[in-house]
């Protein structure tokens, strides 16, 4: 593909770094520019510098409350103006807001859009992406037939790589929100401390847990190995025992830790969809026939109320006696 530019937008700096870094790898050797749209904040100046060392060639600091209020209509309109007639590739982060902005933007530009992508390549015939389909039962390769094109990449799908910083230009713009939406209130959902996407180890709990208080034994195991605690959808969405940002799967977070311990989780395909890329998977389940058996490296068959404390103890004592 010949000369074209890449425009990246994400709500958070860390996601924007991923996109800028990914974009700069795509256009290696080419004259393409990588324009990063950074939501304004107190750190904007240093964040812009950081973006340059991850591949951005231009940074536009955008002052707007459309992002914090999740008003996609207005932001998509703004991005379409930035895209102009230049037929760029636009990279977004595949969050709920990112997907919505992407859909509106693609509609405005009459462009193809692929969401939830795990990889992206440029070929002679177009942009080729890899994404999850069939609730995680399949990985599809899809081709976007023309530019401009919009691609939303799963957060954490790519580890940003630092380059030699090339000084780029910083501009700023202001967007008055002209959305048809009025956001009255944002009720915080409790959030855990560590971002699941960044966690090296995750201990995840499912409906095998009988009551909320019993999370104590899970937290203790997690503490013993410095793991973040995650869960299956029902534990967060139906039972509300853990905040929503802890649920892993097709409709939740996609994680790829070194170690994933699934406790009392049956391993339905929609859950697997979120943790398939984990390096080593351990399951603790009383049912040896649960689908998680097919998706784990080690399955300990037994009652989690017995196994979890025993495992915590073994870890604390260094597993001696093996």
């Amino acid at each position: 593909m010949s000369e074209f530019s890449v425009i990246c937008f994400a709500e958070s700096k860390s996601q924007l770094l991923e996109l800028a870094s990914y974009a700069s790898k795509l256009s290696q050797g080419g004259p393409a520019q990588v324009i990063a749209i950074l939501p304004a904040g107190t750190q904007a100046a240093s964040e812009a510098e950081e973006l340059f060392s991850y591949g951005a060639t231009k940074v536009n600091v955008l002052e707007t409350d459309c992002v914090t209020k999740a008003h996609a209509d207005c932001l998509a309109n703004h991005l379409s103006i930035l895209a102009g007639p230049s037929q760029p590739l636009i990279l977004l982060s595949s969050t709920k807001f990112g997907k919505e902005v992407g859909a509106r933007l693609a509609q405005k530009l009459d462009a193809p859009l692929a969401t939830e992508c795990r990889a992206l390549n440029l070929t002679e015939e177009g942009v080729v992406v890899e994404r999850m389909v069939f609730s995680g039962n399949g990985i599809s390769k899809e081709r976007l037939l023309r530019l401009p094109a919009v691609v939303a990449i799963q957060p954490g799908a790519f580890t940003p790589e630092r380059k030699n910083a090339v000084a780029g230009s910083v501009s700023s713009s202001k967007l008055e929100c002209a959305s048809k939406l009025i956001t009255k209130e944002i009720k915080p959902k409790g959030t855990g401390s560590v971002k699941l996407e960044n966690a090296e180890r995750i201990v995840a709990i499912g409906r095998g847990l009988q009551k909320k208080e019993d999370l104590a034994i899970i937290n203790e195991l997690a503490g013993s190995i410095g793991a973040a605690v995650g869960c299956s959808r029902p534990v967060a969405a139906d039972l509300g025992w853990l905040p929503d940002d802890r649920w892993i799967g097709l409709s939740g977070h996609k994680v790829s830790p070194k170690l994933y311990i699934a406790i009392g989780i049956s391993g339905q395909v929609q859950h697997i969809a979120g943790m398939r890329d984990s390096k080593v998977v351990v399951a603790i389940n009383k049912d040896s026939g649960a689908p998680i058996a097919q998706n784990s490296d080690y399955l300990v068959v037994g009652d989690l109320y017995v196994i979890v404390p025993a495992l915590t103890k073994a870890i604390r004592t260094g597993g001696s006696g093996a």
Partner: protein, 291 residues
Amino acid sequence: MRDAIYNLGLSRLKELVSFMLLQNCHALHERTMREIMVCVKQSYDVDSLKVDRSSGLISTLGSPKKMNDFDRNALEEGIRIREKAGGKVIAVSVGPESVKEVLKEALAIGADTALYVSGGVPADIDSRGVAHILSKVYSLLADVDLVIMGEGSVDHYSSQVGPRVAESLGLPALTYARSVEVSDTKVTAERDMEGGLYVTECPLPAVVTVVQEINQPRLPTLRSILGASKKEIRQLSLSELGIESANVNPLVTTEEIHSPKNERKKLVLDGSKPEEASSRLVSELKKEGVL
């Protein structure tokens, strides 16, 4: 010949429009009356796909299909709004002739009428094409206050049809709704976003996409299934909607779908001796370099 077909389409379109206009007049007299367009997709049953053992490729040929799970929630929400505020629930689907099956189910669950767009729809239509068709249906119906969809579909899960339809019609969209409240002129939703629950309102007409937690969808009863057989299912073709092929020919095509690699060791440790199993596990995990 082509003209004849075109004229035929045009006359059916006129008939349809006058039918809709009649309904419109009715609506003017009773302002609480509103039409709720619920979009239901017939998805592949993601648990019964065929995988070719040697290549690992998945084929959808002859795979069973069913109503997209999220659209059950969309339909339920539409019916609940009707029960409170009046109006009509119209279930709409785009796809091959077989989408009639999900519409029959939608009618049995409680939709008032159903409409599907079938003739001339490319087999490899993409989300943009589907959104274009649904927007045209919205305009044709002419009296829709609310379009309700799912947050995504279980097979393709692209979550783009809702906001695309909103954009193409110039409508506001409340996406990822976990609760919806409708009044005469506006709709308020609690949007379930990563950063919190956003309480957001917008004027009607609007598009709403729902998450699974919004409600517990009802099941059809024997009575409602029997009652549904009397309800109308309309069919429209692309030409009847005045849709040009350039707007529905895909811009995204699927090259191949393979099943994800599964290279797990699948070792089973007997937990009836918890201490032994635990220390064995710890030493294995240390060998793997993950502890």
